[in-house]
């Protein structure tokens, strides 16, 4: 049965060879075909087909979730130079700070920049503030950033986790903190300290999957007045009016005034978030929103 199948393939392959070869397709078109394929397995297979496919595959690979051990990071292959969307949150051992305080830290951060010079979208497990302190200067043109952290918050100063990012990446358009453990008090002062970055943000996701805390009304107002150009805003808050800082009609109206371009407002009560915590791959839209 398997032999039959192989035979058929062989015949088909020969019939291809006889007339038009796959290599007759112009490189530009081959490139656009390749960029339609995002699945990592398929891409890995494609790059092994032949030399030409390898070159085109590498030049069109834009997504990479880095796997592998942290201690081998200096062995990173330099072939993925077209990657614009880099995920550093999954290197193993999971959750450990990818840059430690060894003397090589700065060098390693630079190596990451050389390896992936075109990154504009970054996902990183920011266990402590020093990771971003080293990484953010490497990619000053970052547009989308997702921070991940399930470990406890380490710094003592409010908002310290974000300072390096805001200081170096002025064209930040999208910030996703939905899987980043921090206090609700952290974000407002950081945004207020960097008004130009806050103004460039158009997408902010502060749904809180990592704790049961919801943003209080005055925190939401501080955030939105710092970010007047938000188009999409997702947040955890408190609707129960018996609690301090609950969100009522007045807050909602002020939110709309603060961000006149808002086209998506997704507020979820903190009590309904706890049920969703089990699924970290959730896209952020849960039941119980408003």
């Amino acid at each position: 049965m398997a032999a039959d199948h192989e035979q058929v393939e062989e015949i088909m392959a020969r019939s291809c060879n006889s007339n038009v070869h796959f290599h007759d397709i112009p490189d530009a078109i081959l490139s656009s075909i390749f960029s339609l394929i995002t699945d990592t397995r398929s891409r890995n297979a494609m790059s092994l087909v032949c030399l030409k496919w390898h070159l085109i595959e590498r030049s069109t690979r834009t997504f990479l979730s880095l796997r592998g051990n942290i201690r081998d990071l200096f062995l990173l292959p330099t072939c993925f130079r077209a990657v614009t969307n880099l995920d550093l949150s999954l290197v193993s051992p999971w959750g450990s700070p990818i840059l430690d305080s060894s003397p090589n830290t700065a060098l390693l951060a630079q190596a990451l920049h050389w390896t992936f010079p075109s990154v504009v979208t970054l996902t990183v497990y920011a266990r402590n503030p020093s990771i971003l302190k080293f990484l953010a200067p490497q990619w000053p043109h970052l547009r989308q950033v997702k921070l991940v952290r399930w470990h406890q918050r380490s710094s003592t100063t409010l908002g310290f986790d974000f300072l390096a990012l805001f200081e170096h990446c002025h064209s930040l358009a999208s910030l996703d903190l939905s899987h980043f453990y921090n206090w609700t008090e952290d974000l407002p002062p950081a945004l207020e300290a960097y008004p130009s970055v806050a103004a460039s943000l158009s997408h902010l996701n502060i749904l809180n999957y990592t704790s049961a805390q919801g943003f209080k009304s005055h925190e939401l107002l501080a955030i939105t007045s710092a970010c007047p150009n938000l188009r999409e805003f997702l947040a955890t808050c408190i609707f129960d009016h018996r609690y301090f800082g609950s969100v009522g009609d007045e807050t909602l109206l002020s939110l709309a005034t603060n961000c006149p371009r808002l086209s998506l407002l997704h507020l979820v009560d903190s009590s309904s978030m706890s049920a969703a915590r089990g699924n970290p791959d959730n896209d952020g839209y849960t039941d119980g929103g408003c």
Binding site: E9, F22, I25, R67
Partner: protein, 184 residues
């Protein structure tokens, strides 16, 4: 697969262009004569021919021309399939129905062999039929997706030009990118 069964109908269309089917509007009655690289003559309705940006610009330069338009980079076999596609497209221009269009497009490529697809791509590219090129690219991408290296090689008739050292090196690079631990 079905390529041998398809060929007779294709040649039939070449010798006797059956362009009468879609003559609904008055202006589509005008025919344009096109000559392929293997000297086959096609008579195509103007509305269909105008789908080919390359032919269209030819007539924009010389509107009253009645000459045969030579298509030096276009062989007859893929061209007849391209015409088939464009005829379908025109129907959707009159009344746009995206889901129906998608269905018809996927129907169109589903029947085609790899050879057909690969032959049509340069033609669609030369004639600048963007819609068709998009459809073909997606179709080829779908056929590469989730296939093993060996399968892709034999399917598209590509020879392995890696040395075993090079291949081993590449597989090492991929250790950084594997989505799952189980490799195959």
């Amino acid at each position: 697969m079905s390529s041998s069964a398809e060929n007779p109908t294709l040649t039939a269309e070449i010798t006797k262009p059956s362009t009468e089917i879609a003559t609904e509007t008055a202006q589509s009655a005008k025919k344009i004569t096109l000559k392929t690289s293997d000297d086959q003559i096609f008579e195509v309705e103007e509305s269909v021919a105008m789908e080919f940006a390359t032919v269209k610009s030819f007539f924009e330069d010389a509107p009253s021309s009645t000459d045969t338009v030579p298509l030096p980079n276009v062989p007859a076999k893929p061209f007849s399939q391209v015409i088939e596609f464009c005829k379908e497209q025109i129907k959707f221009k009159a009344n746009p129905d995206e889901t129906e269009k998608k269905r018809s497009n996927s129907e169109f490529v589903k029947e085609k062999t790899n050879e057909d697809l690969v032959e049509m791509i340069p033609v669609a590219n030369y004639l600048e039929i963007k819609d068709l090129l998009d459809v073909l690219n997606q179709a080829v991408a779908d056929r590469i997706q989730n296939r093993s290296v060996e399968y892709v090689r034999s399917f598209f008739g590509i020879d392995n030009d890696f040395t075993s050292e090079e291949e081993a090196l590449l597989r090492e690079e991929h250790a950084w990118a594997f989505e799952d631990v189980d490799e195959d």
